[in-house]
Amino acid sequence: MTTEEEVVEMRTVVDLTRCQGYAQCVFLAPEVFELHGEEGLLYATAVPDDQVERVRQAAAACPVQAILLGEEVSTGAR
């Protein structure tokens, strides 16, 4: 069933240009962020509700402030 109200999904993206592999995000939200090898970072773009607080912590803790947590772009008519 569709409702008037759209469910807002939280998304995260990491600016890997800035990332230096401190891995603070992996410690704080290991279900969303993952080290691939010693310092390559992979992450799930879609953040489940129960992980939002952890990703918020990861974004705050990132030493190079490379993590953005936000709502997905709403492109609906306005």
Partner: protein
């Protein structure tokens, strides 16, 4: 009338990373007028790097990659519709659905698309893929999940190498065919390309270098390919990773300086017209742009880099709503990364703008190193392998045009840190993958080294 710049109609053509970030930045910079974003793909802006990594590995699906917003840009999104032209005099963008959008200022951020297999019929075989869009990613991931016997990757650039890495991680047999002497050679030069070749072979990739693929076989479905050395590769999936084509064709009649290397613009992201005269109301950002950089001899750079899209979008947005004296130059040092075969490769500067290299820290044997690139006695680039925390130091050397080789005293200093070797960056024409950094002016005079 600088106040007027915050008002008026802004149109952005291109609804990917650069388009989104520019839209957000325009609002942050105080744009109060209307904002329209036109995108050919029918999706909200999404993140592409995971397509060759998480998506192929099955850790994420291609339809969950929408980018988060920094803020809602309060834009009208015209998605799934292609822009077909610009009338610079009438200041209108025409769309394929027949509509034309008036603008006071225009930002072009149409990016690139995957270079298709040159033979259209062969390229249409079932099982032949390119990788650029989320449909590409979803299709390829689905095919890999069905566990094909062998995957053929044509092109040993970053995308091709990352796809090969994902295949091996999935336990799939994979062949990489590269026209140059080694993978990544076009971006990183001779020494690191040898490491890349070793990594591929150690991880079980069937790496064929110095060969081209002459034909894709199959009757409806792809079954294999003929190579220029006379050999054959039997495979049921083929990924064509031959680099990118800039989306400029729609501007052919516009009078803008748009060509295969991108749309030329000045350091302030303002587009040039075909006479080399800078426009005041048309701006360019992201992969589709080519811009001069003072640290690299004012050569025009085209960068297919995530970070460049972000930085250039911010500069373009700022300059679109600020008068000349308050405008900013786009001077960011190019940076890119690639994760493959368990290694994290990061680059700062322009490695192809080099004549010599030196391993400044670490070693090839340790699979952990910092390689510094020099051109005519100054540092122009650095590449780290699993040593990303060193990159800021080398970036500083590039920014300050420090002498090459870099100064002594570094810890974990390679035994060979004083021995410079030719960077061996090949002419792009010998590669099957396009370079992700292209110097689109004259090439530095590296033909002096023995070929």
């Amino acid at each position: 009338m600088p106040g007027d710049l915050k008002d008026g109609r802004v149109v952005i053509v291109g609804a990917s990373l650069a388009g989104l970030r520019a839209a957000e930045a325009l609002r942050e910079e105080g744009l109060t007028g209307s904002l329209t974003v036109v995108g050919e793909e029918p999706h909200a802006p999404y993140d592409r790097p995971p397509l060759s990594k998480q998506v192929l590995l099955g850790q994420a699906t291609a339809d969950t990659l929408e980018l988060p917003m920094r803020r809602d840009p309060d834009a009208e999104w015209r998605l799934g519709v292609r822009a077909t032209g610009v009338d610079l005099l009438a200041k209108r963008v025409s769309l394929e659905d027949g509509e034309s959008l008036p603008y006071d200022r225009l930002l072009i951020a149409t990016g690139t698309r995957a270079r298709p297999w040159p033979n259209r019929e062969e390229g249409a075989l079932d099982g032949v893929f390119t990788l650029r869009t989320r449909e590409d990613g979803a299709g390829l991931a689905e095919r890999l999940a069905a566990r094909p016997e062998r995957v053929l990757v044509i092109g040993g650039g970053f995308t091709g190498s990352e796809i090969a890495s994902a295949c091996r991680e999935l336990g799939l047999e994979v062949t990489v065919a590269e026209r140059g002497p080694a993978p990544l050679v076009g971006a990183l030069g001779g020494t690191l390309s040898k490491l890349a070749a070793v990594m591929q072979r150690n991880h079980g990739v069937d790496l064929r270098t110095g060969v081209t693929v002459t034909a894709l076989n199959g009757n409806g479905a792809f079954t294999g390919a003929e190579l220029s050395d006379g050999s054959r590769v039997e495979a049921d999936v083929c990924v064509v990773a031959l680099g990118a084509i800039r989306n400029v064709e729609w501007l052919a009649e516009s009078g803008l300086a748009a060509g295969p290397r991108g749309i030329a613009c000045d350091a302030g992201c303002r587009a040039f017209n075909m006479y080399g005269i800078v426009t005041d109301d048309v701006f360019v950002a992201g992969d589709v742009s080519r811009f001069p950089h003072p640290l690299f001899g004012y050569q025009m750079l085209s960068l297919e880099h995530w970070g460049n899209a972000v930085e250039q979008a911010a500069v373009a947005a700022h300059n679109m709503v600020n008068p000349g004296p308050l405008q900013r130059p786009h001077l960011a040092i190019p940076v890119f990364w690639s994760t493959q075969f368990g290694l994290n490769i990061k680059s700062v500067g322009v490695p192809t703008y080099s004549d010599h290299v030196v391993i400044a820290q670490g070693s090839l044997e340790a699979r952990r190193l910092a390689m510094v690139y020099g051109y005519q006695g100054r540092v122009t680039a650095a590449v780290t392998v699993d040593m990303a925390k060193a990159l800021d130091y080398y970036r500083h050397l590039i920014e300050t045009a420090a002498p090459f080789p870099p100064p002594p005293g570094a810890q974990d200093r390679a035994i060979a840190a004083d021995i410079t070797i030719p960077s061996a960056v090949p002419d792009p024409s010998v590669l099957s993958h396009g370079p992700t950094v292209a110097l689109t002016g004259h090439l530095p005079d590296r033909r002096l080294t023995v070929v």
